[in-house]
């Protein structure tokens, strides 16, 4: 086995694959990128058994072969390689790479232990715009829970019907929902994609253009994006019926400039205590929202932002980070904030965009 490839192409492929490799694997093969050269094409595979990736590259090659190379080592070498191209070959148990007068021999891992990546039959699938899906994952995935107690909350929920695909995530303290256009696929049942795997899918989608077709069965989800094959397991569980907790009427509604809101939250975070507590007061008479944070060891800050307000006075405490998180998914100039008073959730939306909403609960002390 011997091949030659432009450094940047190989580096890009290896850095993508390396993210899927398991760093602290029980099984050494799982910390490797598997390189398969066959018929003029080089295939890179990596998996942590939660999700997996396969990338195909056209390379100049001499002879077929398979090798499992530790992902971290290969990536470390390639990110510092200066030359325009890299040549690689296998001799015995050593993988030799060379680029512009730098040579390295990397000890390989037993490739027989490297598992097959699950395939999903094309029976059930749906199609969306790649950039839409990427933005939708970005808009909700940070809300997923990090606790392992409820795997269904560690996931991003996807479901679709009537030309609309909905993505939702919640850790039971806040919740985000984003809707995008479902181009094909009819009705998509509830799919629970682990949030970490969703984040990897998002990164792969970043460079993609056009549409992407996602295949799924009860346990697995897969897609081809350009030369990349992505697959992830799905979680078997029931996502809570969240629709019923989204309030529909409000006692207070305020519209503020996103820029104002975001800047003051950032600034307030400097003074926030260990719970990032920010108090949030809406004053209809003054047409302003007052935000303040206080840390006995640092000091305190009060900032007032102009707002268009209808409804009653309101004063609540929030985790400032929860409020700030919502803004990253909002692209418009102004933000609509709605609430039903103390102890109730606050609903945050892009004032001009109905496809996204964010629900956050106040602090209880």
């Amino acid at each position: 086995m011997k091949f030659e490839s432009p450094t940047d192409q190989l580096l890009k492929a290896v850095s993508t694959a390396a993210r899927f490799a398991e760093r602290r694997a029980n099984l050494p093969a799982l910390s490797a990128v598997l390189l398969v050269s066959e018929g003029g094409r080089l295939t890179l595979r990596a998996t942590n058994l939660e999700c997996g990736v396969e990338i195909t590259l056209p390379v100049k090659m001499d002879g077929d072969g398979v090798v499992a190379v530790p992902a971290g080592v290969l990536l470390g070498f390639l990110s510092n390689a200066r030359g325009k191209s890299v040549t690689a070959s296998l001799s015995g148990e050593l993988f030799k790479v060379e680029s512009d007068k730098v040579q390295a021999s990397i000890k390989t891992l037993p490739h027989e232990d490297f598992p097959i990546l699950p395939r999903v039959s094309a029976e059930k699938s749906f199609t969306v715009k790649a950039s839409d899906l990427m933005r939708a994952i970005r808009a909700v995935a940070y809300c997923a829970s990090t606790s392992t107690i409820k795997p269904e909350l560690q996931s991003v929920l996807l479901y679709g019907d009537a030309g609309k695909l909905t993505l939702v995530a919640t850790d039971s303290f806040r919740l985000a929902e984003k809707n995008i256009v479902l181009k094909a696929g009819g009705s998509v049942p509830q799919l629970l994609l682990p949030a970490r795997n969703a984040a990897e899918l998002m990164r792969i989608l970043e460079g993609a253009s056009g549409d992407v077709e996602i295949y799924y069965n009860d346990n697995q989800l897969s897609t081809h994006i350009g030369d990349v094959y992505y697959t992830s397991r799905l979680i078997d569980g029931a996502f809570p019926n969240y629709r019923q907790i989204v309030p529909k009427t409000f006692s207070t509604e305020a519209v503020v400039l996103r820029e104002d809101f975001s800047t003051s939250l950032k600034s307030l975070s400097v003074f926030a205590d260990k719970f990032s507590q920010v108090s949030f007061a809406v004053n209809p008479a003054k047409k302003a929202i007052t935000l303040s944070s206080r840390n006995p060891d640092v000091g305190e800050q009060i900032s007032t932002i102009k707002a268009t307000i209808s409804g009653e006075d309101l004063a609540m405490n929030f985790n400032g980070r929860y409020l700030a998180d919502s803004l990253q998914a909002i692209a418009g100039d102004s933000v609509r904030v709605q609430s039903n008073g103390p102890g109730k959730a606050i609903l945050i939306k892009d004032a001009a965009d109905e496809t996204f909403f964010y629900l956050a609960m106040p602090m209880n002390r």
């Binding site: 598992p115 029931a238 985790n319």
Partner: protein, 447 residues
Amino acid sequence: MTTTKELWENALVELELSISKPNFNTWFKDTHIVRIEDGSVYLGVPSQFARDWLSTKFHKDILRSLRGLSESVRTVEYIISRGAKKSSDEAARIVPPPVTELALEAVHAKTNLNPRFTLSTFVVGPFNELAHAASQAVIRKPGIAYNPLLIYGPTGLGKTHLIQAIGNHFRLQTPDRKVYYVTSERFSMDYVSALQAGKVQSFKEKYRQYDLLIMDDVQFLAGRDKIKEEFFHLFNFLHDSNKQLVFSSDQHPNVIQNLEDRLKSRFAAGMVIAVTPPDHQSRLAIVRTKAALHNVLLPDEVLEYLATTIEGNVRELEGALNTLLIQFEMRDTPLTLNDAKTLLRGAGAAAKKAVSVQDVVKTIANFYGVEEASIYEKTRRKEVVRPRQVIMYLLREDFHISFPTIGEKMGGRDHTTVIHSCEKIKNDLRGDSILNQEIHQIRLMLK
């Protein structure tokens, strides 16, 4: 004869020897035998990764070791199931976060059941033991024992708990069979939206696929003709194919207004069971169990007080108990009877509004359809005697009026007459379910 669990454990011991440790740890953890059928062993594995890899790489080893242990094994099939996987940190107590949680319910999506409701958390007493026994029979022999099963009774006595528990046990027992819990309200809404979307056929198919259908509050079906008809056909279909049906209602089906006879007779075809408000002993048992669930030890006198003051409704009882528990958690000192009394002021005690003797007489006379004046007369006509006795009994039991006073108010009767009447009703109550029902009804009217 070894169990499937032992069989797999023995096979694992053998496999561990022939496979490298990292491989073994990676691929064989969280595997278990789901079932063995006609010589095929169905092996449950945690993911498609594991399924694909075990079946290509380790199939021969697995088959060989299983065959070595049991000659009847012919093939091994791999299925993805997370049944055996139980994360160990599930029990870990987490620090309550400073942020209020969203009220997300952990309702099981496929079955719409709330897993919180199980028979093990259900307190059984004389007031509901029949319903409880029937539920167990249904769980044991779904579709055969009592079909349909209808449980009726006033609100807050655990009807929903019981029928959901049937569903939950059924689901655990036979995971491959389909169970669905729906309120009649939701059923109606489903039907209406199916009608609007022109998808009545898929609505029919959806409900006809279930092996156990549980419908809550069927009394709300009354008066909706199209929906009743759809329900009627669904009922027939499921019942004819021996699928279990479980219902709850707030009244006996025969007294639900605007319900056709064909539906009434169908409800009554299986088993119709009442749950009545719990007696004092049961109430005490309920507060004990619930307090224990919260890991809180309340003094006996407080429990006794709860069981005595909050009558009738289990839900109110739980509410009152929760009020006490929250207080208890907040202040770390033991609750005394006086604390409980102050805290619960307005819960049970005040719920009894001041009712005059005349009101009681009037209500009960009305209930039995006798003239109010005849109660006070010296007549011993049978239709008057019974209501009069009931009045005296309730005045004594619920309003704690002394025997002589009751006698005086009832047209100057001797207190021994009153005592006799009360004893008579008390005795009759033991065997007479109609009288029980009547007294319950009257109590509701007096509230």
